[in-house]
Amino acid sequence: MKDILVTREVTKRFGTHTALHNVSLEIPRNSIYGLLGPNGAGKTTLIRIINQITHPDQGTVFFDGVPLAPHHIAQIGYLPEERGLYKSMKVGEQALYLAQLKGLSKAEAKKRLRYWFQRLGITGWWHKKIQELSKGMAQKIQFIVTVLHEPKLLIFDEPFSGFDPINANIIKDEILRLRDGGTSIIFSTHRMESVEELCEHIALLHKSEKILDGKLSDIKKAYKSNIFDVSIDGFRAESLMAELQHSFTIGAVTQNALENSVDFTVQLPSGSSGDFLGYLSDRANVTRFVETVPTANEIFIKTVESKESNE
């Protein structure tokens, strides 16, 4: 069984509003899966269905090859976007309580907590109350509580919000380490640079429907538009540029006087980049020739916009 979690045509309605419409996803094991979409697209509803907080009106969810059942909650860890802890409860006590609710024994929970507190360098916090901690500190506790029961599937909704860059990096490294340890991760965020950095697969939800999913590298390939970034030496470039503009689709030419070079982008018919490069290197000294790959952000915006203009 390749996928840890599969949803089949999941539909959820709230009154007259449809929050999810026939959403089918395959979330592969042992990788990070980005669940993306504008606000109100249905991400949170889908995540809540996976956590069995709500139940789908139609469709099925399979966890590890079998239909999702109540006992699976011990194998799922969920860090919701709207998160918090009991303010007047002590850190250690609270972490123990939440771990026990996930089915860990008290002794086991204590042992693992000690390990994690040491790992994140917060051993002194055990007897502090949450209200004495800063927001970032509380987020660390929250992270530990989410992963403590060593679930097969982890769901992070905006995990880096509330962290300073240093701590965000620590948490990012921990997430990567968990993935390397064999955990499957669903990652929901609006921060595209972290999607780029972490996710192998993505799915894009828009207005209750899935409009795109697959391997990020494949999607990027599909979204390539054969635009290349080119730099050439400035020597006798002007006449060359005029020639190029005559026979190719050239955009955004900039003269770089300091380095004596000319930068431009060119749109080529697919599969003709080699011919173009040969043609160009015969006439000028090419210092840079790079295909521009769309960022996840560009793909996100482009897909959502084209979807909206189609409607």
């Binding site: 907080i53 909650i73 919701p80 709207e82 918090g84 303010k87």
Partner: protein, 442 residues
């Protein structure tokens, strides 16, 4: 440990460790006892205040009438003019001057009696003086028509019909009221408990919403488990608090009263008893004894058993409504519109209980409200001290009331759980009743 017991344990500990809860638990008995002691002390102080009244008596009818009592003593002026007597009264700082003129007969004298004081006199003092004159007039009038006091008492003897049930049990006038008071006490306890601890449940739900922990928790447990755990945990904390209150208040009361040498009976003292004629006192003694026997005959075991049944069912119904309200709103100020409809049936139960159950515990209103599930825990308890079966609550009514209550309990908890389930994940909306209705169908 099962998840439910984990939640109950946490809710219980969170409640009993709460500072204000601890303070309330230990301060309330002290405040309560302090107040009772203060009242007893003030009552004693009030009694010990002595008033002196000057009496200018020009008539031979009242030579031996003004005997000093616990709170009043009299000073007789002799051979003084009214003006001089007034001056002396003021000078000596007496409370007032009673002027009794001379006249050929008692009726004439009484008509012209005056009581002079600095300001308007206290009614209690005035009542006492009037009583003296009334007694004297009464005596004189009897004498005038030649009837002895004994003869008059025989004429005036009031008639009381004796009542009994068909099975031969003696009834006592007013016993229904006493019994309803006892049941009412239990009912009142239920109401207080619901209002106080239902509110705690609600606030605890709101706290979970505002601290945003709710979604973390319900990814581990079912919302229903969380709701029930919260209700049970909070009520256990409440029972603990009540137990501490009862035990410590009675201990404190005992200690304080023994130490200060105050007599608890001061509180129950009724001035009219002390003033009454001996024969009435005797009557009261007799009926007190009867009341006592009647109280012993109240089926306490039955009463307490059903108190527990009605308490648990009633509390669960109301506190799950409170939990649903807590889930529906974002902060406590938004709860007002929903709280009133809950308190209403509780208040209604208490008032209906006091007005109709006391008069007639088996009348149609009393029966109706003791069947209606939202009021039955209180009203039925007011009826139950009369026993069940013949002469008491018919067994079918008791059974029907409990069946209805259980059915309502299941229905309300189901509804509340649905509202709760949706509400805890809703932020930033001030819900209307229409919206709550829509949530039921999610």
């Amino acid at each position: 440990m099962s998840k439910l017991s984990l939640i109950i344990r946490r809710e219980y500990l969170a409640k009993v460790r709460n500072k204000s809860f601890v303070i309330m638990t230990f301060l309330s008995p002290i405040l309560m006892v302090g107040m009772v002691v203060l009242i007893a002390y003030l009552a004693k102080l009030n009694d010990s205040e002595k008033r002196v009244i000057g009496v200018l008596n020009n008539s031979h009818y009242f030579s031996n009438t003004f005997l000093p009592t616990q709170s009043t003593s009299y000073v007789q002026f002799k051979d003084l003019s009214l003006e001089r007597a007034k001056d002396s009264t003021l000078e000596m700082g007496y409370y007032g001057l009673l002027y009794i003129p001379d006249a050929p007969n008692l009726e004439k004298i009484s008509e012209n009696v005056f009581f002079y004081t600095k300001d308007a006199p206290m009614t209690t003092v005035l009542d006492k003086l009037e009583e003296i004159f009334q007694g004297r007039l009464f005596q004189q009038r009897l004498q005038d028509i030649g009837v002895s006091a004994q003869e008059f008492a025989r004429v005036e003897d009031k008639f009381q019909i004796k009542t009994a049930t068909f099975s031969g049990q003696r009834n006592l006038k007013g016993i229904n009221m006493v019994k309803a008071f006892i049941g009412g006490g239990f009912g009142y306890l239920i109401m207080m408990f619901i209002i106080i601890y239902g509110g705690f449940v609600m606030r605890s739900v709101i706290e979970e919403k505002t601290s945003r922990i709710i979604e973390v928790i319900i990814s581990s447990v079912k919302p229903f488990q969380l709701m029930m755990g919260k209700i049970i945990g909070t009520s256990l904390a409440g029972v603990t608090q009540f137990a501490i209150w009862i035990v410590s208040a009675s201990l404190l009361m005992f200690v304080v009263f023994t130490m200060l040498g105050l007599d608890i009976s001061v509180l129950g003292q009724n001035p009219s008893f002390a003033q009454g004629i001996p024969s009435t006192i005797f009557q009261i003694d007799e009926s007190l004894q009867l009341y006592f026997w009647e109280l012993l005959k109240i089926p306490w075991l039955l009463l307490i058993t059903f108190f527990i049944v009605y308490f648990i069912l009633g509390y669960l119904i109301y506190s799950s409504i409170y939990a649903a309200i807590g889930a529906a709103v974002d902060n406590e100020t938004d709860t007002q519109q929903f709280i009133f409809p809950i308190i209403l049936p509780l208040m209604l139960a208490i008032y209906v209980g006091f007005f109709s159950v006391f008069g007639n515990p088996h009348g149609p209103i009393a029966v109706g409200f003791s069947l209606f599930p939202l009021t039955s825990p209180i009203v039925m308890l007011m009826r139950l001290p009369g026993g069940i079966g013949e002469g008491g609550v018919p067994i079918w009514e008791l059974v029907a009331s409990i069946v209805l209550l259980v059915a309502t309990f299941i229905g309300i908890v189901w509804l509340a759980a649905r509202i709760y389930r949706v509400g805890i994940l809703m932020y930033g909306k001030k819900p209307t009743y229409k919206e709550l209705y829509r949530w039921l169908k999610y």
